[in-house]
């Protein structure tokens, strides 16, 4: 079995990044103008990278599928962004953020990357404030913080319940400035459909103009993929409708390793599913767990009465409530990491204590907080989230507890990258959720924004130069080359093939079927048997899709069904790889919970001797089993131990 080299610099942990920056190769200003970089995605990672590379003087081509860069799904993050500023004087430090992140990720992330992330976290806040991001402030005028899951310090910066949006608008404004200056050229409503390699290096992409349906070619010296995660494999997730894994998947098919695909995060606080027509799940920020208390009825009879609509939650007495997170995890209480909170909710519901009409919900109760802080304070903190809940569910969360249930939210897995965020294809970089890097097997709340912006503002603009410094002699490529012909033809063939199936089923109906199989077998509780079942089911769905999907309209015009079909074709294959990876990883860690591997009290049981590695999957061909490569994880600065949120 091959062992993969992460190109982590030598030296002490805290010196690695400084060392790297001191010795890396740079590109002089005159040469920067001659170098083109394609950035796919305009979210926190993509938008920040495109803007920063533009500022440096590179010639950037930036792509997004939405009508504007400001719509990228990074903006849906509500609660906040972590940074080791220690403004609260509560004992935070770079090391502690690093430690919390590694531990939160259940010891499956690369030490050096995570330390770098913690190191630059403070710069992100400085940068965003300078851009005019209106973070929440104290009366004294300084920045306010809140606490988030998996941490015992308050290091989360926030802007109402719209932190992601504000950070994205910051990146978007920086990007807009570069577009105005002409260093960045924006291609909105363009979807990347393939990666073009020339002599083994990433040199361009094929994209479909979503308005005209035209297939277009773009060449560059390097390509950055920042297209987010693949959570929508599950159909129902907190991702946006358009979020997809296709760009990353094309890179995988061109030779980029796909790492830890089975690490998907289930977010504990989402509005529960309410009907089969449902198109997506709405997240309720983790910040709610700061003041909200999670409970289910202590007695099964009460739970049954609630489900039948005979008993109201407000009628259940305090002593008849089971605050199960506080009971099981006294030290962290309602602020345990997401994977732990999600599993605990599932455990209670499976045991018959669930509420809501389906029994697949638990309460998130603010009555204590309202009594303690007053309605006004609660409203100031969470008003917009409460409003969102009320509009969706038609219940007033100030008066009756919210109902929540876990849902797929984020994928820690993604394209494998080395320390430089370069994939296994030279010249192809991956940033943000699209790469696998920093969160291990479970991401802590408010860390996605941090990682996206760290990659985009402070890591990639450096590391990509180290690569591009060797490319200054390479002239611009013409897109008339045969490599582009081949790629474009393949894309056209695929589109024609899909259009010509003319079957009976809509894309969504098949996607829902895939989602159900994924949720049942590759969701919160996985078993060897279930995963095998999933692989068989997914193969069946794949056959059904390629023989019975119906796409009205033509391929050479705007066609929303075709867009969905192209994405679903990849989701099916991603789902398959997720199941395969989950089957292979015979341990429980973070978001990956194999029911065979748990401690006596139901906690995840890692097998560090066998699985302390990054599982990197290499594509070997259509319908062929992919090859598994391993990047061993060495922990030099942290003692690997069983995660403990109890004491």
């Amino acid at each position: 079995m091959n062992v993969i080299n992460s190109k982590t610099p030598q030296g002490p942990l805290s010196e690695k990044w400084k060392e790297y920056k001191s010795h890396q190769k740079l590109v002089n200003p005159a040469n920067k103008r001659r170098l083109d970089v394609i950035v796919v995605g305009t979210g926190l990672a993509g938008g920040a990278a495109a803007a920063s590379l533009g500022e440096l003087g590179f010639n950037v081509l930036n792509f997004c599928i939405q009508d504007s860069p400001r719509r990228a799904h990074s903006l849906a993050a509500q609660g906040g962004i972590n940074a080791a500023k220690n403004y609260q004087n509560d004992g935070d430090s770079i090391y502690r953020l690093f430690y919390d992140t590694i531990k939160g990720g259940d010891y499956r992330a690369r030490e050096a990357n995570v330390y770098r992330l913690a190191e630059v976290s403070g710069n992100i806040i400085d940068q965003c404030v300078a851009q005019g991001v209106p973070f929440a402030r104290e009366y004294g005028g300084l920045l306010d913080n809140r606490s988030f899951g998996g941490a015992q310090v308050s290091r989360t910066f926030y802007a109402k319940g719209q932190t992601g949006q504000q950070l994205l608008l910051g990146a978007y404004s920086a990007l807009s400035r570069q577009i105005q200056k002409g260093t960045v050229k924006l291609f909105a409503r363009h979807e990347m459909l393939d990666l073009v390699l020339i002599d083994g290096r990433a040199r361009g992409i094929i994209a479909r103009n979503l308005v005209t349906g035209k297939i277009e070619r773009f060449a560059a010296h390097a390509v950055v993929i920042a297209t987010g995660g693949y959570g929508n494999t599950f159909f129902l997730s907190t991702n946006a409708m358009g979020s997809n894994g296709s760009a990353a998947w094309q890179c995988y098919k061109k030779g980029a390793y796909f790492a830890n695909p089975c690490f998907a995060q289930i977010h504990p606080t989402c509005i529960p599913v309410h009907g089969e027509f449902q198109s997506k799940l709405t997240l309720m920020s983790e910040s709610l767990r700061n003041d909200g208390r999670i409970w289910v009825p202590k007695h099964k009879a009460d739970a049954e009465a609630v489900r039948a609509g005979k008993l109201k939650p407000t009628d259940i007495k305090e002593e008849d409530r089971d605050y199960y997170l506080e009971r099981r995890y006294p030290a962290f209480g309602n602020l345990v990491p997401r994977d732990v909170a999600s599993r605990a909710a599932k455990e209670r519901c499976d045991a018959g204590y669930g509420v809501g009409t389906t029994g697949l919900a638990v309460y998130l109760d603010f009555s204590d907080a309202i009594n303690r802080l007053g309605l006004k304070t609660v409203e100031a903190r969470y008003g917009n989230l409460f409003q969102m809940y009320e509009k969706s569910v038609d219940e007033n969360p100030y008066k009756t507890p919210m109902m929540i249930y876990p849902a797929i939210h984020y994928t820690m897995g993604g394209i494998w990258v080395d320390y430089e965020l370069q994939t296994s294809i030279p010249g192809l970089f991956a940033a943000g959720e699209a790469n696998f890097s920093d969160h291990g097997a479970n991401r802590l709340g408010a860390s996605a924004l941090m990682q996206g912006l760290a990659d985009g503002y402070f890591v990639l603009p450096y590391t990509i130069q180290n690569y591009l410094a060797d490319q200054i002699q390479v002239p611009r490529f013409t897109t008339d080359r045969q490599e582009f012909d081949t790629a474009e033809n393949a894309v056209n063939d695929k589109i024609q093939k899909l259009i010509n199936i003319k079957g009976k089923r809509s894309v969504d109906s098949i996607h829902k079927e895939l989602g159900l199989a994924m949720w049942d077998f590759v969701g919160m509780g996985r078993t060897k048997f279930g995963l095998r079942e999933a692989l068989a089911k997914i193969a069946e769905i794949k056959r059904e899709f390629w023989s019975n999907v119906r796409i009205p309209g033509s391929g050479s015009d705007q066609n929303t069904e075709l867009e969905k079909a192209l994405r679903l074709a990849d989701f099916i294959e991603i789902g398959e790889l997720m199941a395969r990876d989950a089957l292979y990883r015979e341990e429980s860690c973070g978001g990956h919970f194999r029911e065979e591997y748990q401690t006596e009290d139901g906690e995840a049981l890692r097998k560090d001797d066998k699985f302390s590695y990054v599982a990197c999957w290499r594509y070997t061909g259509e319908d062929m089993e992919p090859e598994l490569l391993k990047e061993e994880l060495a922990y030099e600065y942290i003692k690997v131990q069983q995660r403990n949120y109890k004491e």
Binding site: D67, S68, P69, R70, R71, H73, L75, A76, K85, Y87, Q127, C128, V129, A130, Q131, G132, P134, F135, R137, G140, G141, L142, L143, A159, K160, Q162, Q165, Q166, Y172, S173, A174, S176, R177, L186, A188, V211, T238, A240, G275, F277, Q278, S279, K280, T282, L283, T357, Q387, K391, S392, D394, Y457, F458, K504, S506, D508, R550, P552, Q558, T560, E561
Partner: protein, 251 residues
Amino acid sequence: MEKTINITLKVWKQRNPKSQGAFETYTLNNISIDSSFLEMLDILNEQLINEGKEPVVFDHDCREGICGMCSLFINGRPHGPDDDVTTCQLHMRKFHDGETITVEPWRSAAFPVIRDLMVDRNAFDKIIQAGGYVSVNTGGVPDANAIPIPKDKADAAMDAASCIGCGACVAACKNGSAMLFVSAKVSQLALLPQGRIETAKRAKAMIAKMDELGFGNCTNTGACEAECPKNVSISNIARLNREFLFAKLKD
């Protein structure tokens, strides 16, 4: 158990920006009142696809009221008959059984229809590109706490910044004016010391771009504020006027 309604939909269908376009009528039965408006449109599209027809095209993405991608002028109001929501947060419980629902695209010269209910809001991006930013490069900025900002100022900036760029203000305005959108950005940055420095330049550049792109003139009707899903206030427009006039008078 689950309450359902039957509805008639009158939906604007338009093949491309140049074609004429017309309403088409569909009937939908047994729509759960707990489904969102866009989920109802999903059901319509599923029905159309099963009949071998092309689905109705509309913009949508996050479906939780924050991305600003969804639009739709429903029964005479942008984002439909509920207050303070985007179309994706509008639920069918706001309609009654047997109701005829008219769905139109945003109509404004600056937002041409691309297809059916999908419009081109690129003009908003161009306005931001004209000056909706603080001119700082990545790196080399002072510590985040170096400049204290009064809480009320920061909160007011946040309120202005909650604009999601959906375009409901333009759609609602009888003049097709983008002043609420422009003023939200100018206000946000004018209220913060970081953005204050460039305020005059920004206000002038953004207004010039707004005028150039063919948006109308604000006549202070307040329809934008009434229909804004994020409650952005027209007091921001007053601030923009102030900043713009001061800037021009100084020149």
